[in-house]
């Protein structure tokens, strides 16, 4: 853990700005990351592909050092790292790149209903293009069933894509077991590691991972950069989505953004050095927050597995209180909600629905993301703030009133709209 002062300082009366508790959405850049990046905007501005002069060499050296740092955190080789613009692009490249390259031989992909939109949307795109996609369901705790995965594999299956950790409920899938199944059947295993890299130990060889998507801005690095790990032995081949000068061994053309590459590398270096301690600290803060609110409020439910989850993630349903209304009530903290109202659609979170949660419970959820700069004092403030807001809104809730009167809200015939 670093001893940097919190980005969001609490003042004695009230707050300068809301306390940031949305670390799954994005993270601030670690000042050490910014420090490492700065020279590459100005003095060391060379194009890393300029092979014939000092400026190019200097930039290339920095990029290769970053590549090494990224590879190290997942137990890979630097040659297996392809820089991209972020995990969205990495997921697109992994799914479409592999699917198109091997399309003459195989046309089936297996993924999971709780994947990030960019995986699901890439799969939809492939379906429209004639591929077959199986979307595995998840159990109540958010984890897939390994038997179901294995049963879904056919001789047409080219790839299995299962995210390492979920962005909404933080649950960690059994990667090593999935990898073993994939290897046994000769199927590539891609994992979206955007939320997991730097937070939990990952090893592409021990876990038989063939492709992994990485995002910098989830691990205190800059926005706009990510990476895709692509295994060399046995070799995974892909068709490039972006054609051009042949950078990144032809897999992703375009001039590398040296400062961003350096930022991602430094973010990985720090994350790896501090992972154990940070995980312990964040787990303690997470447990403190959950205990703090559940001790003082009835009808509070944790969504997603309690143990197999990211150290810094909570997703809690506060029954009988609507999520968006609640977010407005907890305005001193910046969190997000699985409620429909926060998105343009009227559907509540598809991830929560996939757990088998009733729509009404999905509407009452808050996602709370705790991270490197969160302090215990902020957690204690958040506990009080949430407890007060939930209590106040329950006083306002006709559903809470019915609950207290012993009426089961499911017994009522609601009209809907």
């Amino acid at each position: 853990m670093s001893d940097m002062t919190a980005v969001q300082g609490t003042k004695s009366n009230g707050l300068a700005q809301p306390i940031y508790l949305d670390y799954q959405a994005t993270t601030p850049c670690d000042p050490r990351v910014v420090e490492a990046m700065l020279p590459y905007f100005t003095e060391r501005f060379g194009n890393p592909a300029s092979r014939n002069h000092y400026y190019g060499w200097e930039a290339e050296e920095a990029v290769e050092k970053a590549r090494e740092e990224i590879a190290t955190i997942i137990g890979a080789d630097a040659k297996e790292i392809v820089f991209t613009s972020g995990a969205t692009e990495s997921n697109n490249l992994a799914l479409k790149g592999v699917a198109y390259f091997y399309r003459e031989k195989k046309n089936h992909i297996i993924t999971v209903v709780t994947e990030h939109k960019c995986v699901l949307d890439s799969c939809r795109h492939l379906e429209q293009d004639g591929f077959r996609v199986t979307y595995l369901p998840v159990q109540k705790n958010g984890l897939i069933r390994l038997e179901e995965l294995e049963a879904a594999i056919t001789d047409q299956t080219v790839m299995v894509s299962v995210m390492a950790a979920n962005n909404e409920i933080g649950v960690i899938q059994p990667l090593a077991e999935i990898g073993a199944i994939c290897r046994k059947h000769g199927v590539f295993f891609h994992t979206d590691g955007a939320q997991a890299v730097g937070k939990i130990p990952l090893d592409v060889n021990a876990m038989n991972i063939d492709l992994m998507s990485i995002s910098a801005h989830k691990i205190y690095g800059p926005k706009g950069i990510g990476a895709l790990y692509v295994r060399r032995r046995p070799r995974v081949r892909l068709q490039a989505l972006i054609n051009g000068g042949g950078q990144e061994r032809g897999m992703r053309s375009g001039t590398l953004a040296t400062p961003l590459c350096v930022g991602l590398g430094e973010a990985c270096r720090i994350a790896q050095a501090e992972m154990d301690e940070e995980a312990k600290r964040l787990t303690a803060l997470r447990d403190r927050l959950l205990k703090g609110v559940s001790d003082r409020l009835p009808e509070v439910y944790l969504n997603g597995d309690a143990k197999l989850r990211l150290p810094g993630n909570l997703n809690i349903s506060f029954a009988f209180v609507e999520g968006e209304g609640l977010m407005m009530g907890v305005k001193d903290i910046a969190v997000s909600s699985g409620s429909a109202c926060t998105s343009a659609s009227l559907e509540p979170s598809y991830v929560l629905r996939a757990l088998g949660l009733d729509a009404e419970m999905a509407h009452t959820s808050l996602r709370i993301g705790i991270g490197r700069f969160t302090t215990e004092q902020e957690i204690d403030y958040a506990i009080n703030h949430i407890v007060e807001a939930v209590s106040r809104l329950r006083e306002l809730s006709p559903l809470w009133e019915m609950h207290l009167e012993g009426i089961d809200i499911k017994s009522i015939k609601w009209a809907g709209h």
Binding site: G325, M328, L346, L396, W414
Partner: protein
């Protein structure tokens, strides 16, 4: 999503929160919306012998705009006759609160809640069956 000052004011200082006894003959109760859709409003009116709404209470499960819409209508219906109250339009509510397009359904629900409360009152008191929903 940013909220208008009026929505924030009603959200932070909701008017007429609470409940009347459902069984009172002078009370009409409207319960509209659905938990699965993310909003439920309960609006109650207390009607005088002369057919004037003397008091109103609400409870709402929903977003800030839903809470504000129902809080606002409790203010608006007070002092009105049933017929006058039945004329309150969702567009007036939406306009007053400056609701954005995605929140119009909150004002529609508030209008429905008034109508449902009036219908309940009338049904209980054997008045004008035709408008009972």
């Amino acid at each position: 999503m940013s909220y208008s000052e009026k929505v924030i004011d009603h959200y932070e200082h909701p008017r007429n929160v609470g409940a009347f006894k459902k069984d009172d003959d002078g009370v009409g109760t409207g319960l509209v919306g659905a938990p699965a859709c993310g909003d439920v409003m309960k609006l109650q009116i207390k009607v005088s012998a002369e057919g004037v709404i003397e008091d109103a209470k609400f409870k709402t499960f929903g977003c800030g705009s839903a809470i504000a819409s129902s809080s606002l209508v409790t203010e608006w219906v007070k002092g009105k006759t049933l017929d006058e109250a039945a004329k309150i339009k969702n567009t007036d509510i939406a306009h007053h609160l400056a609701l954005p397009p995605v929140k119009i359904h909150c004002s529609v629900l508030a209008e429905d809640a008034i109508k449902a409360a009036i219908a309940d009152y009338k049904k209980k008191n054997g008045l004008d069956e035709t408008s009972a929903a």
